[in-house]
Symmetry: C2
Subunit: 212 residues, 2 copies
DNA sequence: GTCACGATGTATCGGACCGATACATCGCAC
DNA sequence: GTGCGATGTATCGGTCCGATACATCGTGAC
């Protein structure tokens, strides 16, 4: 999952570790807490070893002076390679079971702007199916096993069931939207309707281009 | 977290591993997938080594015959010890930051029937605070950084924000209920109102008794 | 002027938990 | 009589987290 997220982010521009963490936290804030350095740095090294990213020169402000003295160990800027882009496309397209759990789906969804429509649809439907199953499980427990559980546990299940139903409706709208329209404009009760003018909304057709 | 969940479950009755997993899956179905054996069995051994649970005799149907032949390796039934109960009470009462993340809160909440009211209140308020922070973070991103993000990512944030607002309202009701009433009877739009007659709703006063 | 403090920045280590896998028993349907 | 799904215990490798360490830089308080 981290591989996918990092590869996707670096496709927008080269970054160093700290920056990657910040951007990822902003992009994925809705689905998970800040990613830890304990996973980030080892992952960066793994990706580099695999040849999917490379170290780039750290925009040296050195017009001329202090080229090296204190060993110059500062920020390490990473950059995605051609193989990295290929790997990203592969990770995006192939859907295992982990694609549909909370985190996996969130990460995939966050990169939908770089995903072709058929794959988007497949992932949305897979997610819906998974949530429907969870919902049925909760309904079962609330129905059949209710008297074996205490009031708090039951309340927890009810709240979870509610969240499931809500997410299914959300997915339905996204799917309908995807099938016969364009951008993900789900009608919202509260704030701000549909925005435009973003720098990377997918052009109505395909967005991922293998060829530069 | 697993420690707490297992200790809490075994307080209801002795069980073997497979059963623990099933019960936990039912009880925590709303907040997490089934717990894996890869964590369950090592944890059971750890708890046993610490003296918090012990192996109990496996209700031997041996009226007389086959006392041992094929080494008789079957289900291993675990039982909580006095030290285990003490440990459970301690884990329930002490609240670290992990008490308020999604999983941690869910597990604590699932055992609210064995938690005293003051602790319940503290945990509910801590959780609310945490969710409010997450909500503010999402609002910030949706406000300030909106034009840097694509339409899909924004939609993800909106959905997350919605979930946050909903959970805060839920927590508010639970807190109000807790302060000046009894059981967790949150008014629900859809199905089934308040149940009673469960075998372990906390009596209005305290529920956790150190002394047997 | 200096110096404390928060931000930026890289890095490691132990531990928690998962997913895949292996293997053995039991009841029952075909 | 046999295959198959549920029950049941167990291990292994890998991913990710939380705590920790340490170094630099800008800024505002004193």
């Amino acid at each position: 999952m981290l591989d996918l997220a990092i590869l996707g982010l670096l496709q927008e521009s080269p970054m160093h570790g700290y920056e990657i963490r910040k951007e990822l936290t902003a992009k994925l804030g809705a689905i998970r807490a800040a990613i830890s350095y304990g996973s980030l740095y080892p992952t960066l090294r793994r990706l580099q070893a695999a040849g999917w990213i490379t170290e780039a020169a750290d925009t040296p402000v050195t017009t001329e002076e202090v080229p090296a003295l204190t060993s110059r160990r500062g920020r390490v800027v990473y950059e995605i390679t051609a193989e990295g882009k290929e790997r990203f496309a592969q990770l995006i397209a192939q859907a295992g079971p982990e694609t549909y759990d909370d985190t996996g789906f969130g990460v995939h969804f966050a990169f939908f702007a770089r995903t072709d429509q058929a794959t988007r649809l497949r992932i949305l439907e897979g997610r819906r199916r998974k949530i429907e199953e969870r919902r049925e499980g909760l309904r079962d427990v609330l129905g059949r096993a209710a008297e074996r559980l205490d009031a708090y546990t039951l309340e927890l299940q009810r709240h979870g069931l509610d969240a499931c139903e809500r997410e299914v409706r959300w997915l339905e709208e996204l799917i309908a939207n995807e099938r016969s329209g364009r951008a993900p404009t789900v009608p919202h009760t509260g704030t701000a309707g549909g925005r435009r003018d973003n720098d990377s909304p997918p052009p109505p057709g395909e967005s991922r281009s293998e060829r530069p």
